[in-house]
């Protein structure tokens, strides 16, 4: 094939091919423009402009003395911009730079094809930054453009028919889509990752942190992002019962609450439940932390999850892709009716110094009040009756943050109340801990599921009371009961500072939003969340109870072959043989062949007919009639001879 190869390598693409390519590359660049450093964007604009001038004015391409320094400078720039951290952002920037520089030295159609392949690859990188429906639709523009450009490069002559290029590209992609769907649904899915994932890939994910400082959760509350979606089997619980359990913090260092490392050595707290369980499935957005949110109190572990002694539910890996799991919880429960002395000591831990006023107050309660329940009630009464305010914008607190909050500012968000309440309880000798998570959620009637947003993030406390075990106490409810009953939007007076979607005004906008969210949820569940598990689920839905995944490859090959066969049949049928008259006449010839008469290649219909009439005198009249009909249909005016008649004659022969 060496004869054929070099012809295709050497011709120079024409001007309109270059313009097509530049337009498609602009579309690819458009997918990335938001997450590239400014200087790369500037450089790319420069390169595109330059290449356009080269094509339109017939300038010559830059040579090595220009390209080499440009390449080195670009690489140095990338190293400097990303502090040498070669992760997702840097590799995309480098790939973009490579594309631009390759474009500057591309002269033959082969070079341009390479540029197009790099551009296809760059397109896929856009999904590292987001996979919304908008991005999916946006992907079609560069892919179509690049394919059209690729087609243009294969036509050495008269390729000026741009419409054809675009039409053909759309045709090819249209024909590829059925096959793509089969591949998407049936290609055996492997769970990733195959190798390490750059650290910066998840830097934009939000969610609960592994520690709690004053201000943390109020900051999170400003995000309208979805934390997770829940669909309940049966009716959802009341809003005031929707406590989604997340990280549990048992250690206070005077400033922040965090998980107690020593708690890992404690025995699992006993749990006894009463009543009917609540069953639901959660689709959790990735947040790059291991916790999985479940309704208080989880009585069964989701598949593949772990539980800490204090009933924090954890995934084995940080959650970096959207995951879905089934939850089972009981709203009526007893947790840890016995507490070991070691555990009790841990749960009374406080820093040696600091916050003297709060300590003094707690000591006083301990001395005066008859039991633990009375101390809890007194503390809650204090929050309820004194001038405490629930606000998203609390003032900053001093070194003794608890004292400062309880006796000076008295303005805070849930983390202030939960943190100071747990502090007071511990100081008064009651084991206590802080639980963070989400409270509430909005039911979407369109999709029959509940949306829980980052703005629903919440912190509350658990106190351990003899004979009752852990009891959930939400001091925020004492200050602002409506926060728990009706959600954050009704509890915050300065509602305008909340993200638009967490607010309750604009009913029409909300309705639109809920519809949009339902579509998005479907997209997330069926397109983005389509993994091994989902694949198995779908297959068992189609093929009955249990489709063995070991047969998946066979099914995949069979269906692919079927679809491919179908497409091939449509595309590859020999249309020259589809002349109906010829087919009918061929039937006649086959009949004659069975009688031992073969039409010779050089023999015309008439000659054959004469010969046949001589050899088969019995059918002579019929053969003559058939030949006459055929000749008339083929060469004469077909008005008085119909194809049906010919068919009948041949059948009767």
């Amino acid at each position: 094939m060496s004869v054929t190869r070099h012809a295709l390598r050497n011709f120079t693409p024409q001007r309109h091919d270059v313009i097509w390519l530049l337009l498609s590359l602009l579309a690819v660049w458009g997918l990335h423009i938001a997450h590239l450093p400014l200087w790369i964007n500037g450089l790319m604009a420069l390169i595109f402009g330059w290449r356009w001038l080269i094509a339109s004015r017939g300038w010559s391409l830059p040579r090595m003395p220009v390209l080499l320094p440009l390449t080195l400078l670009g690489i140095a720039g990338i190293v400097a911009s990303f502090d040498g951290l070669f992760g997702r952002d840097a590799s995309v920037a480098l790939l973009t730079l490579m594309l631009g520089l390759k474009l500057l030295e591309s002269r033959s159609s082969r070079d341009f094809m390479l540029v197009i392949f790099i551009a296809y690859f760059l397109t896929v990188n856009a999904f590292l930054f987001g996979q919304s429906m908008l991005v999916a639709a946006g992907m079609l523009i560069p892919v179509t453009g690049l394919t059209a450009a690729l087609i243009g490069l294969q036509k050495p002559q008269s390729g000026s028919d741009q419409g054809l290029q675009l039409r053909l590209a759309l045709t090819l992609l249209g024909q590829a889509i059925p096959l793509m769907l089969v591949l998407f649904v049936l290609f055996p899915r492997l769970p990733g990752p195959l190798w390490g994932v750059p650290k910066d890939s998840y830097k934009s994910m939000t969610g609960l942190s592994d520690r709690m400082r004053p201000g943390d959760i109020s900051e999170l509350s400003l995000s309208g992002a979805t934390a997770f979606r829940v669909s309940f089997t049966g009716a959802p619980p009341r809003a005031s019962q929707l406590y989604w359990r997340g990280p549990v913090f048992g250690y206070f260092d005077g400033r922040e609450w965090r998980a107690d490392r020593r708690a890992g050595y404690l025995p699992r707290e006993s749990l006894s439940v009463r009543g009917e369980p609540v069953r639901y499935s959660v689709t959790l957005e990735p947040h790059n932390q291991p916790w999985m949110l479940v309704l208080d109190m989880p009585s069964q572990l989701p598949a593949g999850a772990l539980a800490s002694p204090d009933l924090q539910i954890l995934a084995r890996e940080p959650v970096r892709t959207r995951i879905r799991y089934e939850g089972v919880s009981h709203l009526d429960y007893t947790l840890a009716d016995q507490l070991s002395p070691v555990a009790e000591r841990y749960l009374l831990q406080l820093p040696q110094q600091g916050n003297p006023k709060a300590r003094a107050m707690a000591e006083q309660w301990r001395a005066q009040l008859p039991d633990h329940q009375a101390i809890v009630d007194t503390a809650l009464r204090m929050f309820r009756q004194q001038d405490f305010y629930y606000t998203l914008t609390p003032p900053p607190l001093g070194t003794n943050s608890i004292d400062d909050f309880l006796f000076n500012s008295r303005r805070g968000f849930c983390e202030h109340y939960a943190g100071s309440f747990a502090f007071l309880m511990r100081a008064a000798g009651i084991p206590a801990r802080v639980v963070t998570g989400y409270q509430g959620g909005e039911l979407n009637p369109v999709g029959q599921y509940m949306i829980v947003r980052q703005s629903d993030a919440h912190a509350w406390t658990e106190v351990w009371l003899p004979h009752r075990g852990w009891v959930r106490v939400d001091p925020t409810a004492a200050v602002s009961p409506s926060r728990i009953e009706a959600g954050i939007a009704s509890a915050i007076s300065e509602s305008a500072s909340l993200p638009l979607l967490a607010r309750r005004d604009y009913p029409l906008l909300r309705k639109l939003y809920l519809n949009w969210d339902a579509i998005n949820n479907g997209w997330n569940q069926w397109v983005l969340g389509y993994n091994q598990q989902k694949q198995a689920e779908l297959l068992s839905r189609i093929f009955g109870a249990s489709f063995p995944l070991s047969l998946l490859t066979a099914l995949f090959i069979a269906v692919t072959a079927l679809v491919l066969g179908l497409i091939s049949w449509v595309l590859l049928r020999d249309k020259t043989r589809r002349d109906p008259l010829q087919q009918v006449y061929a039937r006649f010839l086959r009949k004659m062949a069975r009688a031992g008469l073969q039409q010779a290649p050089e023999e015309g219909a008439q000659d054959f007919s004469h010969r046949a009439q001589q050899q088969l005198p019995m059918q002579a009249a019929q053969i003559a009639a058939i030949t006459a009909l055929y000749l008339q249909l083929r060469y004469g005016r077909p008005s008085n001879a119909s194809l049906q008649m010919l068919k009948r004659e041949i059948r009767n022969l």
Binding site: F117, F121, F127, Q154, P156, M180, L572
Partner: protein, 338 residues
């Protein structure tokens, strides 16, 4: 297949089994090749089409695999979508490339004779009968210089002209024709071999001018070429006779009156020249042939009547294009006397 030149056939005697093994080792023998039948030229039917990825296609495949691995690693659902879309595009492209070539018919192949050393041009006509536009169909042959391409509109014919260098006199076959295409995406190349009756008659290379046919019998050799062609007095018109050079036809006169007229010049040679093999001198037979070719060319340009006398063949004196080519053909195919 015919051997490339008649003289090469009988040079070395080879034993039969050896020849058989040698020809079997020549794997190209086993390739499927479209051949003409009595009704039409070679048709590239489904049996005759080969298809393989091009280098660009291999690169494309590699990139798709990289995209697939990336999508698995980062659990990118849309990555899978795009990867599978591009993979399916490649497969669909395969079908399109294949059918871009399928059922074309090589309806005609023609080549005009040339002198050895000149480039022959093969004109290959391809017929489209399935009602589809065929884009960028290339043709090439083993001996051809550069593949050339054409587009063929539905139910029409397209012509590809291939240049082909010649070296030796005689019938020369450009070899099996390769028809190929990479359209639409350049990822795959479909190709077919077609056996055509295409062959080129290569005239011997004319010897350098200067040595006139001095020993020929009459006037033709005496006058210089210039005086015979250029500055002669026009003598009048006479009725066209077959064999008159078209350059001599007086088109104006022919259109004015009835009948065709040739210009006749004063001083034109009347008697004929004999160009004789035995008059040539040279170190070997091929050079003597070249000498004769030179004489034929000169005599033809002079416009006179000339005859050719070869050891096994004599062509009576005549003039005109047909005679000219007859003479050159005889020289091209002449077997050297032992």
């Amino acid at each position: 297949m015919r051997s490339p030149s008649p003289s090469a056939a009988s040079t070395t005697p080879v034993s039969r089994p050896a020849a058989f093994i040698k020809s079997s080792l020549n794997w190209t023998r086993w390739l499927r090749t479209a051949r003409a039948d009595s009704r039409r030229g070679p048709v590239l039917t489904t049996r005759h089409i080969y298809i393989l990825p091009t280098r660009a296609g291999v690169l494309y495949g590699t990139i798709i695999i990289a995209m697939l691995l990336g999508s698995i690693n980062y659990s990118l659902s849309l990555g899978f979508v795009l990867t599978f879309l591009l993979a399916a595009l490649g497969i669909v492209c395969m079908l399109h490339t294949w059918r871009n070539l399928a059922w074309l018919e090589v309806s005609h192949c023609q080549a005009s004779p040339v002198f050895a050393g000149e480039e022959a041009t093969l004109e290959i006509r391809l017929k489209e009968s399935s009602g589809r536009m065929r884009h960028a169909i290339y043709a090439s042959c083993a001996a051809c210089l550069q593949p050339q391409s054409t587009d063929i509109p539905p139910r029409q014919s397209g012509t590809i002209t291939l240049a082909y260098p010649t070296a030796r006199r005689g019938w020369s076959e450009p070899g099996r024709l390769t028809l190929f295409t990479v359209f639409p995406l350049g990822l795959l190349q479909a190709w077919s071999y077609a056996d055509t009756d295409c062959r080129v008659l290569v005239y011997p290379r004319p010897a350098a001018s200067g040595r006139s046919s001095a020993s020929s019998t009459d006037q033709a050799g005496k006058g210089s070429r210039d005086s015979l062609l250029g500055d002669q007095d026009f003598a009048g018109l006479r009725h066209y006779r077959p064999g008159d050079s078209p350059r001599r036809i007086d088109w104006k006169a022919s259109s004015r009156e009835q009948g065709m007229y040739s210009k006749h010049f004063q001083g034109e040679p009347v008697s004929s020249v004999w160009l004789d093999w035995h008059e040539t001198t040279g170190p070997d037979g091929e050079e003597r042939i070249c000498q004769l070719v030179r004489w034929v060319v000169d005599a033809h340009q002079a416009g006179g009547r000339y005859g050719l006398r070869l050891p096994q063949l004599t062509l009576a004196a005549d003039r005109g294009e047909a005679h000219y080519h007859r003479c050159l053909q005889a020289l091209a195919l002449m077997e050297l006397p032992a």
